[in-house]
């Protein structure tokens, strides 16, 4: 009876072993496929890693180039302002002399025409100054782009750390100082249709009216 039980156990174990081998035979091709997949994927991941490292190392250079555009724009704007200032001074001197001449010779059609043309030139010069405000607006937009680039750099750096590769902050080109959040307005627009100014005027008026009303209310409360 005991022998029968032992044989049954052995046969059961052998059955289990057979099942294991059958399962193993089915599993081996799958394992092969997984290994092949990993074999193909590892170089691909290394490529991705290299691309990320490459892109990340280029980011500070891109940011510096954007900064140099801002600096060049500022220098050019200053030069234009110098010329505009000099022109304004000349125009003002010319106006004074022509007005003096007018007072000496009296009304003269040609003189009036020249004065009117000078007025137009003066308005043009003033409009150039107004338009130069675009430099400040574009520099804020470029700072905003630099800030965006910084965010991408940080995300890529985090990815590189996941790959357990060199931190990009150690890269020699990565010493660029990105702009701080508060030093630019990402929504800066060169908008000459005055819609924002109209909105500001209505809000200022509303606030002033509220303030006046509260002063009146305080006065009545005192009496």
């Amino acid at each position: 009876m005991d022998n029968n039980n032992s044989f049954e156990n052995i046969f059961k174990k052998l059955g289990d072993l057979k099942d294991f081998f059958v399962y193993g035979q089915k599993l081996i091709p799958i394992l092969h496929k997984i290994l092949d997949f990993m074999h193909d994927t590892v170089p691909l991941l290394e490529n991705v890693n290299r691309s990320i490292q490459d892109s990340t190392s280029k980011i500070p250079k891109a940011a510096m180039q954007i900064n140099s555009i801002t600096n060049a724009n500022e220098i050019a704007t200053t030069e234009i302002l110098d010329i505009v200032d000099s022109m304004s001074l000349d125009i003002s001197n010319m106006q004074t002399k022509l007005e003096s001449l007018k007072s000496k010779i009296g009304e003269d059609e040609d003189l009036n025409s020249i004065l009117s043309t000078i007025d137009k030139i003066n308005t043009g010069v003033l409009n150039i100054t107004i338009s130069l405000q675009v430099q400040d607006i574009t520099s804020q937009q470029l700072s905003s782009v630099n800030h965006l680039i910084q965010s991408i750099q940080e995300k890529l750096a985090a990815l590189l750390i996941e790959f357990k590769e060199k931190d990009i902050h150690e890269a020699p080109e990565a010493d660029f100082q990105f702009p701080r959040d508060g030093s630019f307005n990402a929504d800066a627009r060169y908008d000459k249709n005055n819609s924002s100014q109209i909105l500001a005027d209505s809000l200022v008026e509303e606030t002033l009216n509220k303030a006046s009303q509260s002063e009146i209310d305080k006065l009545f409360a005192k009496s």
Partner: protein, 126 residues
């Protein structure tokens, strides 16, 4: 009384444009500061400044922080402040008004707008 302006902007170009606009509308007295910190230092040392024109977005101390710092100062807390900025969103304007700027100009501006706002502030103060 002659007005002496403190023009606060981190952009050299904008400081110059504001200063030129002030000259165009007949105000020749002004000093400049590149950010809020420098502006506070100038206000502390120069008692003759009686009008502040400030940008919002600046490094170190922003224009809004400057307005708050001025308003909480016993010595120069009531000085008129005109905010001149690229920020034209409703919530920005409301935030600046809540911080107690006297008026608000959105860039790009003309000397005429600057004149109008300065006169409004002065006439309200009288």
């Amino acid at each position: 009384m002659a007005l002496k302006f403190l023009v606060v902007d981190d952009s050299v170009t904008m400081r110059r444009i504001v200063a030129n606009s002030l000259k165009t509308i007949g105000h020749d007295l002004y000093v400049e500061a590149g950010d809020g910190r420098e502006a506070l230092s100038k206000l502390t040392t120069d008692d003759s400044i009686n009008f502040v024109i400030t940008d919002w977005n600046m490094p170190e101390v922003s224009g809004l922080e400057l307005v708050k710092a001025i308003r909480s100062n016993e010595k120069f807390g009531t000085i008129p402040i005109l905010m001149v900025t690229t920020r034209g969103l409703k919530e920005d304007i409301i935030e600046a008004l809540a911080a107690k700027v006297n008026n608000y100009v959105v860039k790009p501006f003309t000397p005429q707008i600057l004149k109008e706002k300065i006169e409004q502030i002065i006439s309200a103060a009288v």
